[in-house]
């Protein structure tokens, strides 16, 4: 879960932002991680794209 979320952050916000989030996500439940990425993604890539991308992260989690 962490890796999929961090890959998504890195893809759009770059590696340096992903590194800070990696620290923040440590020990956090999946719900907090999803809320966090949803918050920054909606603002940056728009609601529709954010939903698509977060859905992929969730699917990754299901696997």
């Amino acid at each position: 879960m962490h890796k999929a979320a961090l890959d998504l952050i890195s893809k759009y916000f770059g590696q340096s932002t992903a590194e800070v989030y990696a620290e923040f996500f440590t020990g956090e439940p999946d719900s907090v991680i999803i809320t966090s990425i949803n918050e920054i993604m909606v603002d940056y890539v728009g609601k529709e794209k954010a939903n698509d991308e977060i859905k992929k992260v969730m699917e990754h989690l299901a696997l």
Binding site: S10, K11, Y12, F13, G14, Q15, S16, T17, A18, V20, Y21, E23, F24, S36, I40, V42, D43, Y44, V45, G46, K47, E48, K49, A50
Partner: protein, 268 residues
């Protein structure tokens, strides 16, 4: 784009126009150092923005390549300024500045292609009326650039290298039309997001460049000091400023995201 950004752009253009009217300088107004502010600012801000992504991400690669193009144009403008004002004896055509102008086109192309891939644009889902409007404008620009910037630019009496540079620049403008179109499609993928604003601003900047380039080609590549020329110069300045603002807004947003998460981390 934010209101304050538009206001700043309008004020900057008004100051530039006043400067060009009050201090016209032979042989053309671009000699004014004020003209250099916009391209140098665009190049520096673009580099700074690329740095925050640290290059090794999909979006970071797109930013880095587009920044590379802006840096090439910034260098070309500085070289042109130096050749016109400092060492006019060395001012030949083509010059090193032309090489940097041409080098920017493949960098912009690669950057916008990377942006297109990252966005995962689905052409079937693109708004049809938006596509029709953009295609119509692109078609008009294509005809104008192809005729004035490519066909008429070829001079059988000039040497091969000069023709390669002039026709190559016209072809570069044709590429810029396609890239602007692609940038609009990418913006459509990020509807409602800050990235949409970034790509729209990039597309607007490139379109303004094209319009100024077409005005230059229509002018017969001859500089004279009149209002037409001042509008042409303002077109280039506005284009550079738009590209700089697009990058700057992106940088400010990313900085805010990083600052916010660092704050949350410190409170953990």
């Amino acid at each position: 784009m934010k209101i304050r950004t538009i206001l700043f752009l309008a004020i900057f253009l008004a100051i530039s126009a006043a400067y060009f009217l009050l201090f016209p300088k032979e042989p053309f107004v671009a000699d004014g150092a004020l003209y250099l502010i916009a391209p140098v600012a665009a190049a520096l801000i673009a580099l700074y923005t690329s740095r925050i992504y640290r290059f090794n991400s999909a979006n970071g690669r797109a930013m880095l390549l587009i920044s590379g193009g802006l840096v090439c144009w910034g260098i070309a403008e500085i070289i042109t300024y130096v050749l016109n004002n400092v060492i006019p004896d060395a001012n030949t055509f083509p010059s090193l500045a032309n090489a940097f102008i041409l080098l920017a086109f493949p960098l912009f192309g690669a950057g916008i292609y990377q942006g297109f891939i990252t966005a995962g644009v689905k052409l079937k889902q693109v708004n049809k009326s938006l596509l029709a409007a953009v295609l119509s404008v692109s078609l008009i620009l294509t005809v104008l650039v192809a005729y004035f910037g490519v066909y008429l630019a070829y001079d059988p009496s000039a040497d091969l290298l000069s023709n390669i540079v002039t026709v190559g620049t016209g072809i570069g403008d044709l590429v810029l039309i396609i890239l602007s179109l692609v940038a609009i499609l990418v913006a459509g993928e990020y509807k409602g997001g800050k990235l949409a604003s970034f790509w729209k601003t990039m597309a607007s900047g490139f379109f303004l460049f094209l319009i100024a380039d077409i005005m230059f080609a229509l002018h017969g590549n001859q500089y004279t000091e009149d209002m037409y020329e001042i509008f042409m110069e303002l077109g280039w300045i506005a284009a550079y400023m738009l590209l700089a603002f697009g990058m700057l807004e992106n940088y400010v947003h990313l900085s805010a995201v990083q600052k916010n998460i660092k704050l949350k981390l410190s409170q953990k």
